[in-house]
Symmetry: C2
Subunit: 432 residues, 2 copies
């Protein structure tokens, strides 16, 4: 039996700093859970981190030297909480190659390099764990690794970016336009000074790649994911959505059917009475559909140092328990070949169009003809507002289910019509 | 390395029958997850089950003989899905004592005998798993066993009985009285012919005992739990709740503070805007609060053969994986001594009183005096309806936080007042 398990931490930012504190404060709990003490032996930081008060508290356990870190005697588990692709990837590879179990909160590096990292973990008989990389402290990955393994996962519908959900909640409730809601989120610290990764759906795509890879046991990379942000939504879209019985959310969707999967991140109309429509502010939620379990939902705070440290330390406890029990690579994340990602053009869903048209007779007929020529069936067409001075009107068209490629062709055709001044919004409508 | 893992199933009711089907249908998935085939070797049934078509399909694997079942060569895992306390308890003890890992969906036997069963599991170096005993296919136990281990769990607020949640949803939405809503639930198969276990909160108390034992790592037995059902709720309570901004739910609550825990099941007023208030129909949900993770919520269908089989087979996969990796008792459920359950009299919460009083001057002063004498502070007192013919009126009083024992004394005192005709309802109001 082991007398202790040694942990090395990489990084000392808000998440890593909190992880260091929890490892010390919850030492007794961890020891009970694991069977022997779990000790933080070494912390690798960048030069800039040396001035942090916590660096001083950690004393001789702090190092800026990568070799010193990896050569620490008794180092069983490496926790990486630096973030970003480089140098994190190199560190993770070195940790796995040297036979250390790895715990990371880094969604970008896992999303982009899961296959390579899992291969290295297998070769070196250790495990890679990354529960904290998606949804902070909400257990979102372990359900797919353990609890739902008997299910064929049919679909995942997720709100996994708190920044955009906060902005959308403001736009819906306070009728703010996008730039004003973004400024409010930035003032409150919910959005970064450079908000691109969040508002353009890039962060959500990283997380969806990880979720979909686990759920479908297939390699899904960020580049496979169609991704569209929220910056082009207009405040009137929220008003019309509400009138029609919908809410607008940035959804990360993964669906599997007949050995082919679709993965996409975009704003979506969802039923105002659905669970996901009620997930507001910075909260995250994942709805999973399996053939046995039907629908299950997990929700909570998707970010922040405390919730994220909860997930990191749980992974450390699981890795330590495995080491204590003599288990190496647990095989909790297997990527099977042969599952294909469907091109976005082949995806079918319903659509909401908002467009500005000339307010004259016969326009609706011309617009409808274009939908018909592209094989798209219109569910409803409603004239919303008329500008008498400019002789223009705004119409909203809801379609029945149609293929993305037909919709894109229709969009081009509509832009070519002289009676259509602008197609302002095109938002997918999700039934589930 | 093992060449196969053998499973024995006890029972062939709706849940057990579905488990047998899933073990066959998902054999390839299980083999991939575990590392070797997982085979259903034997099914122990009662005489009455022999006439089921599924018994014929299972052929020579069916037996009514307990010894034959336990003597099956290669039997590594015993799955018990009979339900009820006896003979299930004897079977589980025999399975553990003979060194088999155990998976059970039986909330009653686990709630009443967890400590004894866990001790047997430890002695025989095997594990006891029971994810399916609470909340069907929703992963409700594994979060406390793995994902939230770094947290001090402060509270659990759970809707874990689908029958009562369906009835309460009908009473709220359709303004039905309790007997009518119960009949409707029975007609739809959501309530049993003898509904006592569900409507009196007994089923919820079993599940809460398991949840609280896991979350607080302390032995909590059904007898420790204060339990009150929903049969005395009046339809006007739902109307008043709505007017005051609340919903009424049968909540299972477990809270921990300063080494003492409170555990109780009763109808409760909860904020109409809260997550739990939106959990309707037969859906279940558990909200957990931890010091790191803050609030996380899990929800889904809490019953039914398909979701329950999802949890049972996940437990079988986990047990089989452990056997494959050479792990015996995993120590996922430890009961620490020294944590005490607080007597119900010491519990503090807010209260809603509905009472019928004489419609004459000075009555409110008399009623208020009784609250004051018992140290209970009134937050609001509203006269709702007046019956001019009988000169009676209905009033609703909401209190600030008060101890249960003070409220019980006040209730006795109120009953002794000649101007109080009846105290119709006394419902706790939960802030969280």
């Amino acid at each position: 039996m082991r007398e202790r398990i040694g942990v090395g931490l990489m990084g000392l930012g808000v998440v890593a700093g909190q992880v260091a504190r929890v490892l010390e404060e919850k030492a007794a709990v961890l020891q009970r859970q694991v069977g022997c003490p779990v000790e933080l032996l070494k912390v690798k930081v960048a030069e800039a981190d040396l001035s942090r008060p916590q660096a001083a508290e950690l004393g001789s356990r702090i190092t800026v030297d990568e070799d010193e870190f990896f050569n620490t005697p008794g180092l069983d588990i490496v926790v990486e909480a630096i973030g970003g692709e480089r140098p994190a990837l190199d560190y993770l590879k070195r940790a796995l190659s040297s036979g250390r179990h790895v715990v990371t909160s880094n969604k970008e590096v896992v999303a982009k390099h899961a296959a390579e990292l899992l291969k290295l973990a297998e070769t070196n008989d250790v495990s890679l764990r990354c529960e904290a990389s998606v949804g902070g402290g909400i257990p979102l990955l372990s359900p797919f690794q353990y609890d739902l393994v008997a299910n064929d996962i049919r679909g995942i519908y997720a709100i996994i970016n708190g920044t955009t959900n906060y902005i959308l909640t403001c736009m819906a409730r306070e009728e703010l336009d996008f730039p004003t809601a973004l400024k409010q989120a930035q003032a409150l610290g919910y959005a970064e000074a450079d908000p691109k990764n969040d508002i353009e759906g890039i962060d959500a795509a990283y997380k969806l790649a990880i979720l979909a890879s686990l759920a479908f046991k297939a390699e899904v990379k960020p580049d496979d994911i169609y991704s569209e942000g929220i910056s082009r939504l207009g405040s009137c879209d929220f008003r019309y959505a509400e009138e029609l019985g919908y809410a607008i959310k940035l959804l990360a969707i993964a669906r599997q059917e007949n050995g082919s999967i679709e993965v996409r991140v975009h704003p979506a109309f969802i039923d105002a009475d659905s669970f996901l429509a009620k997930v507001d502010g910075v909260y995250n939620a994942v709805l999973a559909e399996g053939d046995l379990v039907e629908k299950v939902m997990f929700s909570g705070q998707g970010a922040g140092p405390l919730p994220t440290s909860s997930a990191v330390v749980a992974d450390v406890a699981a890795a330590a328990r495995d080491i204590y029990l003599g288990v190496g690579n647990r095989g909790i994340w297997v990527l099977n070949p042969g599952i294909k990602v469907k091109p976005m053009e082949e995806v079918e869903t319903r659509y909401y169009f908002r467009m500005n048209i000339a307010d004259e007779s016969g326009v609706l007929a011309k617009v409808s003809t274009i939908f018909g020529q592209n094989g798209i069936s219109i569910a409803s067409a409603i004239q919303k507002e008329t500008d008498n001075a400019n002789r223009t009107a705004e119409i909203v068209i809801m379609t029945h289910s149609a293929k993305e490629k037909a919709v894109r062709r229709a969009l081009e055709d509509l832009k070519g019509l002289d009676v259509v001044n602008e197609v302002n919004s095109l938002i997918r409508v999700e039934v589930d």
